[in-house]
Symmetry: C2
Subunit: 266 residues, 2 copies
């Protein structure tokens, strides 16, 4: 049986990503379920760019040109939702859920875009509030489907291996102890999800998924691993291979984030 290929990527504006060759990446990757964050475009534009070969679930943000998440799939979802369970976030373009039937099992896929945060500002409060709701939503989803996969830009590096310059970022949004503790719990017995890429790659540095556009961050691989596949244990056990599509393997850099692609033998 051909594995199910699921990719997540923060496109940082899908119009800009297409200008930079995102279509070439897509054409070469044969993705079954494509999860996008920071779409930053109206629904009609997204449909036009992706073409009609996808089923598209897209949650725009209320603010024009901000955030926006989507799930584009070759197979049709049996159900879709665009709420994380807290009305405050329903128009923020940060969370969509799609249910699929795959070989007799139910699979829920989530495309998530956690706030970037900013210490000492209301943005950080929103980030914690979102992570709180997410922490409650994860086990609820796991109770409803055979398999759950939450992917996206979670804007937190979990461990010292997930950020190149971790010492310099201990007080920065994205690597705060309080943020990292959420991920300890996501991956702990209570919530019970698995960090798929970390499980497959083992205890190594990276692989990073985001690099600042500034300076030579990308060339020097001064990056952060903040784009994840969080899977329920049965699904995580079915993960065959995980890849970050960045140079040198893939030479089109169409966003400041690189796609994280995982094959699941479901």
């Amino acid at each position: 049986m051909k594995p199910l290929r699921i990719a997540t990527v923060n496109v940082n504006g899908i119009r800009a990503a297409y200008k930079r060759g995102m279509d070439q990446w897509l054409a070469g990757r044969d993705v079954d379920i494509l999860c996008l964050q920071e779409v930053r475009a109206p629904d009609a534009v997204v449909r036009e760019l992706l073409g009609d070969s996808w089923h598209l679930l897209h949650a725009e943000a209320e603010a024009k040109g901000r955030a926006g998440v989507a799930i584009a799939s070759r197979i049709e979802p049996s159900a879709t939702r665009s709420s994380i369970g807290e009305p405050y976030f329903d128009t923020s373009g940060r969370w969509v859920e799609a249910d699929f039937k795959v070989n007799g099992s139910s699979l829920t896929v989530v495309s998530a875009y956690v706030h970037s945060g900013d210490v000492g500002t209301p943005k950080q409060d929103d980030k914690y509030r979102f992570l709180d709701v997410m922490e409650a939503r994860l086990p609820a989803l796991a109770a409803e489907s055979d398999h759950v996969l939450v992917v996206g830009d979670l804007n937190v590096g979990h461990t010292e291996r997930d950020i190149r310059n971790w010492k310099g970022n201990l007080k920065k949004a994205g690597f705060l102890p309080e943020e990292r503790a959420y991920f300890d719990r996501f991956f702990g017995d209570g919530v019970g999800y698995v960090d798929v890429h970390r499980a497959l790659s083992g205890d190594v540095d990276g692989p990073y998924t985001w690099w600042s556009w500034r300076g030579k961050a990308f060339d020097n691989d001064t990056g952060w691993r903040i784009d994840y596949h969080l899977a329920t244990p049965g699904l995580a056990a079915a993960a065959l291979e995980a890849t970050v599509d960045r140079a040198p393997s893939w030479d089109t850099r169409f966003s400041d984030h690189a796609p994280v692609v995982v094959d699941y033998s479901l």
Copy 2:
């Protein structure tokens, strides 16, 4: 005696112009006095881009990133002014004057940027008000110097030969009868200036100096001649040659306007 080469160009943002190769144009043209409009950058940025081989007179607009005119010269001005004579326009970045001594004669050069206007809006009132003040300033300048040259983006096409699609623009700002009448007066006995390029090129269509970025306006030469050299008669008689630097002669299009370059044998 080597003629004095004076160029005018609306750069539509000097930063963007340099990115598109304005420096290559400048390097190949050996200009003595360079008049700029729509500089749209802080003074420090302009000085950095032009380098230290110029004397620079630069009037920024009060509004950041808007308008801005400059005169960069290889020879040092004996005096400079940045008022057209009406305080309302003093912070609009639309008028600068520099006086030079050239071979024993006095020469005043003005870099002007007339409002684009918009029929039925306050912008059109400002445009008329500016043209009113300009109409008063022209003879005053002529009385003070041996030679006066007012160059820049005057945002009005004078005659039917100055706009490709003149019939379609009779009611549009830039070709309104009331605007064109100002130029009849500028070139009439009362004010007494000469349209240098028209005098040299004769009664032909164009040559145009501005083409919209939209569509194929540039390739089809659907343009407007709105960038001028207005000279007092003695100076106009000294004009040897006038050129619009556009393709095919010059292949770098660094602005939606092309430079108008004139050699004066002073």
